[in-house]
């Protein structure tokens, strides 16, 4: 083999490697988020109302008056009306409201008692209510600034629910995850309703899908199947089809409109979630 031959061989080999590398590397795809933290695991129920019954995270605040913590914790109604949380839920825009309300507890000197009260009241409430009032508390503290935030963390630490080390992780509470899941569920429902069941028993299969999204709500990657449950001898043959249908529904209904502030909360958030999904019907 002469020098020219070895030059030609190396040139040819390099060219092939370059061609296949170019075809293999996904330059055109969006960068996949690195999976640093386990995705949130939420479960979607198949019979969802088309109208929101949970606090609407995407809607702007409806009420001009910010509710205060004390009032909320004092007398929580036994069953909150569906609209109530939406009216009550303050968003960070509230911060720009001109003057702090007189009822606002967070005087710099005594931050402790204020947040503690709701926590105590919560413990008596039903779990569902706990979740929603906790969320409100969190949003409230987020809106109020560092002082009450610190107090809130301390109170959280006091009741052993969260630690000051990971205050951001606490922001993504169960209630918010549930809200996110219902928002996604509502947005994917039109596509899911178009699906036809592949066979009897197919809608008993729940598929766990990993959904990775970009900040604009589009899918960052194809939904990934992470296991299925509810497979019986009768519907086993539909399992793969069900998974494909579920993936297809999520692809078809993208992009999703979800609150930007929960996109990435300390590595968690709706940028990378695992949904348990069942076909409707």
């Amino acid at each position: 083999m002469t020098r020219r031959d070895s030059f030609a061989l190396s040139g040819s080999a390099l060219g092939h490697v370059a061609v296949f590398a170019l075809l293999s590397l996904s330059f055109l795809h969006a960068e996949k988020p690195v999976d640093v933290t386990p995705p949130i695991d939420v479960s979607l129920v198949s019979d969802v109302a088309m109208k929101s019954q949970s606090p609407n995270l995407t809607a702007p605040p409806a009420a001009a008056s910010a509710p205060d913590l004390g009032q909320m914790s004092k007398a929580p109604p036994p069953i909150p009306a569906p609209e109530q949380p939406r009216v009550a839920a303050p968003t960070p825009e509230k911060k720009s409201a001109p003057a702090p309300k007189p009822a606002d507890k967070p005087a710099p000197e005594k931050p402790k008692p204020a947040p503690k009260k709701p926590e105590k009241a919560k413990s008596a409430a039903t779990p569902e209510k706990t979740a929603s009032s906790k969320k409100k508390t969190e949003e409230k503290t987020a809106a109020k600034g560092p002082k009450i935030d610190k107090a809130f963390e301390r109170s959280m630490a006091a009741i052993g629910k969260g630690s000051a080390d990971a205050p951001r992780a606490a922001e993504l509470g169960d209630a918010i995850i549930a809200d996110l899941s219902s928002v996604i569920q509502r947005q994917v429902q039109p596509c899911a309703n178009r699906l036809t069941s592949p066979g009897p028993g197919a809608n008993e299969i729940s598929s766990r899908l990993r959904i990775q999204m970009n900040r604009d709500g589009s899918l960052a990657a194809r939904p990934e199947l992470r296991g299925q449950t509810g497979i019986t001898a009768e519907n086993r043959r539909y399992a793969q089809r069900v998974a494909e249908l579920a993936k297809g529904a999520f692809i078809a209904c993208a992009p999703y409109h979800l609150p930007d502030k929960y996109y990435d909360v300390g590595g968690r958030g709706w940028k990378d979630i695992i949904l348990t999904y069942k076909l409707p019907g």
Binding site: A13, H16, E31, P198, A221, R241, E244
Partner: protein, 229 residues
């Protein structure tokens, strides 16, 4: 930049398709990729060599036309490593052998000169065309090898479909896509090989014609000198 290998089944990434394939299909794909590497090695080596050959022939002919004394020219350029120099050296060697004797057979010398230089030209062409048959083989066989891989892969995909008792596109598609990738590789190797074979055959014909013309001209010169003796 965070570049990741895309091994999702739903993409056309060659590496993903290769990794998902059956081992027979993998073997076929590997062979075809090697064939493609070999083809391009021949193409690159051959085109650079042909360019060099054409340049040396042109320069040699120019210098030959300028020089007056064949013996002097042979002393300077006779040992060049180029086809035309070897043809020239073969002619000069035969000329010296034939005219070294006391009695010279002119017709016999002319005939021998023509034969020797014709043989030198043929030898040079043979040497140049050494690897063209590989290109021809790859060009004609690679599509069939790829087709074999595809047929095997589709057979396997159908077996898998029968096992799943499910004929949805999601089950059928990946197997067929990876099977078709074998045919794609076969064409990927064969198309450049066929094009290169035709081009190189043509350029070898031209070089051969050029060498023959040079040999004829040289033969004319020698035969003229033969008459002068």
């Amino acid at each position: 930049m965070n570049v990741m290998l895309n091994t999702d089944a739903a993409t056309l990434s060659p590496i993903a398709l290769f990794l998902q394939a059956d081992w027979v299909v993998k073997l076929v794909m590997l062979g075809l990729i090697l064939a493609s590497v070999w083809t391009w090695m021949i193409i690159i080596g051959f085109s650079s060599r042909m360019r060099g050959t054409n340049n040396t022939i042109r320069r040699f002919e120019r210098d030959f036309r300028k020089s007056d004394n064949i013996d002097d020219f042979h002393r300077v350029r006779g040992d060049d490593d180029s086809p035309v120099a070897r043809v020239f050296a073969a002619g000069v060697t035969e000329w010296r052998r034939s005219t070294g004797q006391r009695s010279i057979d002119r017709d016999g010398t002319r005939e021998r000169l023509a034969t020797v230089m014709g043989a030198a030209v043929a030898a040079e062409v043979d040497r140049m065309a050494d690897r063209l048959n590989i290109l021809a083989t790859i060009g004609s066989v690679a599509p069939f090898v790829g087709l074999f891989g595809t047929v095997w892969g589709i057979m396997r995909a159908f077996t898998a479909i029968a096992g799943e008792q499910n004929s949805s596109l999601a089950v059928v598609a990946p197997g067929i896509a990876e099977a078709l990738f074998a045919t794609a590789l076969g064409l990927f190797a064969a198309i450049p090989a066929v094009i290169a074979y035709n081009r190189f055959s043509h350029s070898i014909n031209r070089v051969e014609a050029r060498l023959s013309r040079f040999a004829d001209g040289f033969h004319t010169t020698l035969s003229r000198q033969l008459e002068a003796r």
